[in-house]
């Protein structure tokens, strides 16, 4: 199919495909980051991760309605407020869930899997009861629409750039938080040796709750950002679960860097395949590839040790 | 790298393992005779447990060779090493909490170890007798129907020893067998060990010096993954280097 194009066009194809891949990469990172913290640091399988994302999306939806109603002048910037609210809402729910459910289930990862699946069903039904079964349309500020033309033939959608920048910021923030802040040290201490961390005066319960809350909060922000590119409905979150888990596992669970690298690998593969084959085949081939690689290299791409 | 053939029961040669560049065991060589009792001592982090892990296959060597009756162990899977005649007791009691004492011992009984064998395994008289005999040895004859999880710490240690005994290994490796025991349990364990080390080779890791002196003929002192000293207890005890890094503390 490439024979039909001039070299110039080919260049723009590759450039635009590269951006498409980068956008997909950002989406994956945003999805996986919260989960990587929760799963990687706490060993908890949060099957309701997608529902936390959708909570963020619904928060954005409500915020947009409120702004349209009461603060129409500020509508263009409502999105930033919405993201903060999404973080708070999802984070607060996350902490509540940690307190009510998760803390009783540490060391029983398969049970957290089932319990959070139950939670996801309950959340879905709650969304359905509150917001209706149909997807809601989130009205976006005008500036998020359209594309930036880099050259005559290379165009990049603004919302894609927005998601990329957001991903960069959040990743940097999480990195700082985990590796440069006192709180991050505490988290890592608790992960490595819970008893010892407790003994030296770290409130492990509080650290757990905060970690879980922050992981869920990031999911909320991701959900908020996804209103730009995806759908917001009661069951939309479920669509993300498989991809998200595979990204985290493929990256090697415990390492943040691994998660990012794995998101990059998977997104670029899929985006390239999508271009040369079709959407369905691309997804099957990518999933299959990831599963086969995981079978051959169960520790994931970048982890140093096998966790059992 | 493959080691040469020897008359030793166990020949460890040039054994090295590194974790992310850190050499936990560094170019280690030592030999264990048939029916020898070898005690390994050394400060924390000296690599004692890692050596046992390497021999029993739990950890894979980076280089070097481990030969058991001139059979290379580094390439075998754990279960094959066990079937070759090496038994291992872990530092913290590693038993099956959800099973009874009887079932714990029965699982360790060396018959029906394949899938098909396990499906067709029958609890016949030979099995029962052997289980009861071992239970007698490890002071648990009256606890056979008890779930292992409800045993005391000392009893769990004994049970694990019993699980090794029923395998009847030629080389028995014990990692701190008396750690965490009460005084009376400790006495009984010493007595138990004395009985079971009689007709096989044993490698013991132990911190309890009195216990070590009691059973050891030859001691290997490890420090930072290497052998610091080796020889009869009395020699080792007098070795100034050993005193400095270990005994002096």
């Amino acid at each position: 199919m490439l024979g039909d194009y001039t070299p110039d066009q080919l260049l723009s194809i590759f450039a635009m495909q590269g951006f498409a891949g980068l956008i997909l990469f950002s989406v994956f990172v945003l999805m996986a980051l919260g989960l990587a913290i929760i799963f990687g640091q706490m060993g908890v399988i949060n099957m309701a991760h997608g529902e936390f994302m959708i909570l963020g999306a619904y928060t954005t939806f409500l915020t947009s309605k409120l702004f349209a109603l009461y603060l129409p002048a500020l509508f263009p910037i409502y999105f930033f407020v919405a993201m903060i609210l999404a973080f708070i809402a999802a984070g607060a729910l996350g902490m509540l869930v940690e307190w009510a459910l998760i803390r009783h289930l540490y060391r029983r990862p398969l049970d957290t899997l089932l319990a959070t699946w139950g939670l996801s069903l309950i959340l879905q039904q709650t969304y359905r009861s509150v917001f209706g079964a149909r997807e809601v349309g989130v009205e976006l500020p005008q500036w998020t629409m359209g594309a930036v033309s880099l050259t005559d033939t290379i165009e990049v959608p603004i919302n894609g750039i927005f998601v990329m920048v957001l991903t960069l910021l959040i990743t940097a923030a999480v990195g700082l938080l985990m590796y440069r802040s006192g709180w991050g040290r505490k988290v890592r201490a608790v992960v490595q040796n819970r008893t010892m961390a407790g003994a030296v005066g770290i409130d492990t319960e509080k650290v757990d709750r905060m970690t879980f809350g922050i992981g869920c909060g990031i999911a909320g922000v991701a959900g908020s950002a996804f209103t730009m590119i995806g759908s917001t409905g009661p069951t939309s979150g479920q669509l993300y679960i498989v991809d998200t888990f595979l990204v985290v596992v493929f990256g090697g669970a415990q390492s943040l860097l691994g998660t990012i690298a794995s998101a990059f690998t998977i997104s670029q593969t899929r985006s390239t395949l999508e271009f040369f084959t079709s959407g369905s085949m691309a997804q099957v081939v990518t999933l299959l590839g990831v599963v086969i690689i995981l079978m051959l290299r169960p520790q994931g791409l970048f982890a140093l040790k096998v966790r059992r | 790298m493959t080691g040469s053939n020897t008359d030793f029961l166990l020949a460890v040669e040039a054994l090295t393992v590194s974790f992310d560049g850190f050499k936990a065991v560094d170019d280690l060589s030592f030999y264990v005779d048939e029916r020898e009792i070898r005690v390994i001592i050394g400060p924390n982090g000296a690599g004692k447990t890692t050596v046992l892990d390497l021999i029993c296959g739990k950890t894979r060597a980076t280089s070097g060779s481990i030969k058991f009756r001139n059979r290379e162990l580094t390439k075998l899977r754990e279960n094959e090493i066990v079937q070759a005649g090496v038994g291992r007791k872990f530092q913290t009691p590693s038993i099956y909490d959800d099973l009874t004492v009887f079932e714990n011992l029965e699982i360790s009984y060396p018959r029906g170890r394949t899938v098909f064998g396990a499906l067709t395994f029958r609890r016949d008289a030979a099995v029962r007798e052997r289980v009861e005999e071992i239970a007698e040895t490890i002071f648990l004859a009256d606890q056979l129907e008890r779930r292992a999880e409800f045993l005391s710490h000392g009893q769990k240690q004994w049970l694990e020893i019993g699980m090794l005994l029923i395998q009847d290994p030629d080389l028995l490796m014990l990692d701190e067998p008396v750690a965490g025991m009460s005084v009376s349990e400790r006495v009984k364990t010493a007595e138990l060990l004395h009985r079971i080390i009689r007709d096989r080779s044993v490698i013991v890791i132990e911190h309890d010096m009195k216990f070590v002196e009691d059973i050891a003929r030859k001691v290997t002192v490890l420090h930072q993954g290497r052998i610091l000293a080796e020889g009869p207890m009395s020699d080792v005890k007098a070795n100034p280097k050993v005193v400095e890094v270990y005994l002096g503390h």
Partner: protein
């Protein structure tokens, strides 16, 4: 080393001599008799043809739950992809039935008569090679079990040999379920796509849509299920069952007792796959079609809850759990559709947090002591024996077994 096998007549005085050579102990006999009586006698007598068919459908899920009890309850291997095996089994028999329903005479109006209608709609002009052997019933029956077992073997061998377990295994099986669904839906020319393989009519000329046939199939289904229960019970009572339990807690120790753990896991995973596949095949026969909606992630996880509600380590609990959850689903979702999803969600949480041993646990901790007390007063020797925990000690987690 003493090794002369002898009949089980060891020292009788010791409690250790409790007889494990029989398939059931007394309590299990009762549980088995109850299950068999209910599904073979009570249901057929009390339910009309419609309800009986419904229960028959529920029971096909019980095969999956049964497999999960062995695989997850005993072995600690949680597969979130059992729907794949259920589906594969179902598709294998559906392919045979579809070919029989697509005789040249029945499909005259197609541009290519003699091939399934959905192939014709997808411009396929000749029967694909992988469909060819499904003209033969023996092959199809064999494939029902062998194809899923082969898939399970490949997955299991790859994963367990490399010691992937627990959560990782669960996530990968889930991905497999996702892949299977996308493939089945996408390759509609070969699989019938999202509609599945529908309009199945006869099995060797025997019209499976008639009430009589459905009743017959119910009994075949119930019989096979009882066969699978017996097989599961055999595995549980054998040393294999105890090794599974041992593996669940201390995998390393089992290795150092001289067992190749991976082989045991592969076997039990394949067995669970085979059970699920038989269930899928019976589903197809009783319901009359197979579709990708039983293969995906959601149905696969839902099947886990059947086993969990019954009590993840209870073979008989799996049957009751499946029946109960499905009954609740059918009746609750009719009258309170909203409530049902809340209820199902709460069920997952409750069964994990409050009743980890499900129905079986509740029975053992509440009903059984009462029953023992009642029966203890009467001169009934049947249920006498060691205290309730002792007959099934291997399988009960601490909460209920505390004596």
């Amino acid at each position: 080393m003493p090794s002369a096998p002898a009949p089980a007549t060891g020292p009788a005085a010791s409690p250790a001599a409790r007889d494990e050579s029989t398939l059931f102990d007394t309590k299990e006999w009762l549980a088995f008799a109850l299950v068999a009586a209910v599904i073979l006698v009570v249901f057929p007598l009390c339910l009309d043809a419609f309800r009986l068919n419904l229960v028959g459908k529920y029971l096909t899920y019980a095969y999956v739950a049964l497999g999960l009890v062995l695989c997850w309850g005993f072995g600690g291997i949680l597969s979130l992809g059992q729907g794949v095996f259920f589906g594969l089994g179902g598709y294998c028999i559906a392919m045979f039935l579809k070919l029989e329903a697509s005789s040249a005479a029945n499909t005259k109006i197609q541009s290519t008569p003699g091939i399934p209608d959905f192939m014709d709609w997808n411009q396929i002009t000749a029967l694909p090679w992988m469909w060819q052997p499904f003209h033969s019933l023996p092959f199809a029956l064999l494939a029902v079990v062998l194809v899923p077992v082969l898939v399970a073997f490949v997955i299991g061998a790859a994963m367990f040999k490399r010691r992937v377990g627990g959560v990782y295994f669960a996530i990968i099986t889930q991905a497999v379920a996702a892949i299977a669904t996308i493939l089945i839906v996408g390759q509609q020319g070969y699989t019938g796509g999202i509609n599945g393989i529908t309009d199945l009519r006869t099995l060797h000329g025997w019209d499976i849509r008639q009430d009589g046939a459905k009743e017959m199939l119910y009994f075949v289904n119930a019989g096979l299920l009882i066969g699978c229960i017996l097989l599961a019970q055999f595995v549980k009572r054998s040393k294999f069952g105890r090794i599974l339990v041992a593996m669940r807690g201390k995998e390393d120790r089992v290795r150092f007792s001289g067992y190749n753990v991976a082989n045991f896991k592969i076997f039990v995973f394949c067995l669970a796959a085979a059970f699920a596949a038989v269930g899928g095949a019976m589903f197809t026969l009783q319901v009359g079609f197979m579709s990708p909606s039983f293969v995906g992630i959601v149905p696969s996880i839902e099947m886990v809850i059947y086993a969990a509600v019954g009590g993840r380590t209870s073979i008989f609990g799996a049957i009751w759990g499946t029946l109960l959850v499905n009954y609740a689903k059918t009746s609750l979702s009719e009258s309170f559709p909203q409530l049902w999803l809340f209820g199902l969600g709460a069920l997952y949480i409750g069964v994990v947090m409050l009743f980890p041993d499900g129905l079986a646990g509740l029975w053992n901790s509440h009903a059984q002591p009462t029953l023992d007390r009642l029966l203890g007063r009467r001169p009934t020797p049947a249920v006498q024996g060691p205290a309730s925990g002792a007959t099934q000690p291997a399988t009960l987690p601490p909460q209920t077994a505390a004596e």
